[in-house]
């Protein structure tokens, strides 16, 4: 070692930056599936979800200094993904998208029972009502009923008090119920 002094230090130091990026990219890539699924459920659009995950990965890389505990990487990155989804939903409100037509089940189809048709109609109405919710309401509903997080975990994940999470859940479910009631009345 004494015969090979500081000459080795330069390439080692230079490579350490590249290695750090590679390690970080590997870590983000390991969360890609979970992030993509979460973003798609929140946004309801797979292509947008891909964009959001890629954007969130870049944002995470740039904000890597804010990661205090490396064993909480998943929660930290998930929070960034949720924030990116919120931004996307807000910008989407500024750029209205074309509305998809409602699902129509042929009433004459002999192979489908009335319960099935009602179930599909009901889920479609619920999905449409979900699309009308505020971004924050969508996020808490997804984290609670799809991700199965507790109230406290949701609060920690998106950085708001548990009481606010409860309040948002209450309002969101209330709005969904109202939308469903109105939808059933129209049919």
């Amino acid at each position: 070692m004494n015969g090979r002094p500081s000459a080795l230090l330069v390439p080692i130091r230079r490579n350490s930056v590249t290695n750090a990026a590679a390690d970080f990219a590997d870590r983000v890539a390991s969360e890609t599936d979970a992030a993509y699924r979460l973003a798609t459920v929140i946004l309801g659009n797979a292509m947008e979800a891909e964009d959001v995950v890629a954007d969130a990965a870049l944002a995470a890389w740039r904000a890597r200094a804010s990661l205090r505990e490396s064993d909480r990487f998943e929660a930290w990155f998930s929070r960034i993904v949720v924030n990116a989804c919120r931004d996307r939903l807000r910008s989407r409100r500024r750029r209205p998208v074309a509305e998809m037509p409602a699902v129509e089940i042929a009433a004459t189809s002999a192979s489908l029972g009335a319960d099935f048709r009602d179930g599909v109609h009901h889920r479609d109405a619920l999905s449409r009502a979900f699309e009308t919710l505020e971004p924050d309401e969508r996020i808490v509903l997804t984290l609670r009923f799809w991700h199965d997080l507790t109230i406290d975990a949701i609060a920690e994940r998106i950085g708001i008090p548990p009481g606010t999470v409860k309040s948002r859940l209450h309002h969101a479910t209330g709005r969904l119920r109202t939308a469903l009631t109105v939808g059933e009345g129209e049919r």
Binding site: A25, V28, R37, E50, W61, L141, W146
Partner: protein, 318 residues
């Protein structure tokens, strides 16, 4: 109306139906590429942001200083009464108006330029995405705000030691401290004074503030009151008026001194001594001086170490 359990079940089913399953195979690759490609531009962008912020601050400061230099209402020369030659032909006799700096000294343009610089730096502080650049710009704007607030108001000139006297003088005092002038009517007298730059920066002494009597012209203000009307340079610590030279702009380093002779007019009511019916008096406690520091022109009522006392009659002026 759906009951709670059914509603929650339907909600979960709806959300599960939105779940697309595993991410497309290429997404992980895209994520890696996005991070990898960000490294080099990020470093360049960081340096670029620093250089940009520093450049903006430097450019703003340069514009500020150039604007002050261009708009300086006094300019680099002496006042209109001062000679441009280093030494006047001896014997030099000081006249009213010598070394007087004319014009208004309210630093409106300087204040405006400083406000523009302040606004520009504040804009940089608000708009920049870099925290450190923002802090640097905010500090710069605070410094300029301080300059704006204190512009033209500092009192850098003080009397610490040196010479201080008046001629012609009266030896008999009236019991109050001061320099008693012994002239009759609106006659000239001279004040000799050593001025020290008490600030931490060098300054240029430009001359005497233009007195009201000179500004009003010969048909203007009646010379009833005593006033200072001219200034000349003296060799350091010299009190001999025949050594006086015409006043020119003089640079005084921090802590350094210059000795000046100030020409005063005693006013038409002045008496050389108290009359039998008692006396009144007028005290001159300040000399108005003009100096320039950091391209900003300041006017200062220089406080004399002791008042110059002009004795006047109690029964009105002659």
């Amino acid at each position: 109306m759906t009951d709670d359990a059914t509603f929650e079940r339907d909600l979960r089913a709806m959300l599960t139906a939105r779940d697309p399953g595993p991410a497309p195979a290429g997404l992980a690759f895209v994520v890696r590429e996005r991070i990898r490609s960000d490294q080099q531009p990020r470093r360049i962008a960081r340096w670029g942001a620093w250089i940009g912020a520093a450049g903006a601050v430097a450019a703003t400061a340069a514009v500020f200083i150039v604007a002050l230099w261009v708009a300086n209402p006094v300019g680099p020369g002496p006042g209109p009464g001062a000679s441009l030659t280093p030494d006047a032909t001896p014997p030099y006799v000081m006249q009213a108006g010598d070394g007087v700096v004319t014009g208004e000294h309210v630093p409106l343009f300087q204040g405006l330029a400083a406000l523009i610089a302040f606004a520009a730096l504040l804009l940089v502080a608000i708009r920049t995405k870099g925290k450190r650049q923002g802090i640097a710009a905010a500090l710069g704007s605070l410094v300029i705000a301080f300059v704006v607030v204190t512009i033209g108001t500092s009192d850098a000139l003080v009397f610490r030691d040196g010479v201080y006297g008046v001629t012609p003088y009266r030896t008999v005092s009236d019991g109050e401290p001061g320099l008693y002038v012994a002239v009759t009517g609106d006659q000239p007298f001279h004040l000799v004074l050593t001025v020290t730059n008490g600030s931490r920066l060098p300054l240029d002494l430009l001359g005497l503030i233009e007195p009201e009597s000179l500004r009003a012209g010969p048909d203007g203000v009646s010379p009833v009151l005593p006033r200072f009307v001219g200034i000349a340079r003296l060799p350091d610590w010299d009190v001999v008026l025949t050594s006086a030279q015409s006043f020119e702009r003089v640079t005084i380093p921090a802590g350094a001194q210059v000795t000046v002779a100030v020409l005063g007019m005693a006013g038409v009511c002045a008496l050389p001594a108290a009359g039998p019916d008692g006396q009144g008096g007028i005290d001159l406690e300040h000399v108005g001086l003009v100096y320039e520091q950091l391209t900003i022109v300041h006017t200062q009522d220089f406080t004399l170490p002791e008042p110059v006392k002009i004795t006047t009659s109690m029964n009105g002026c002659p």
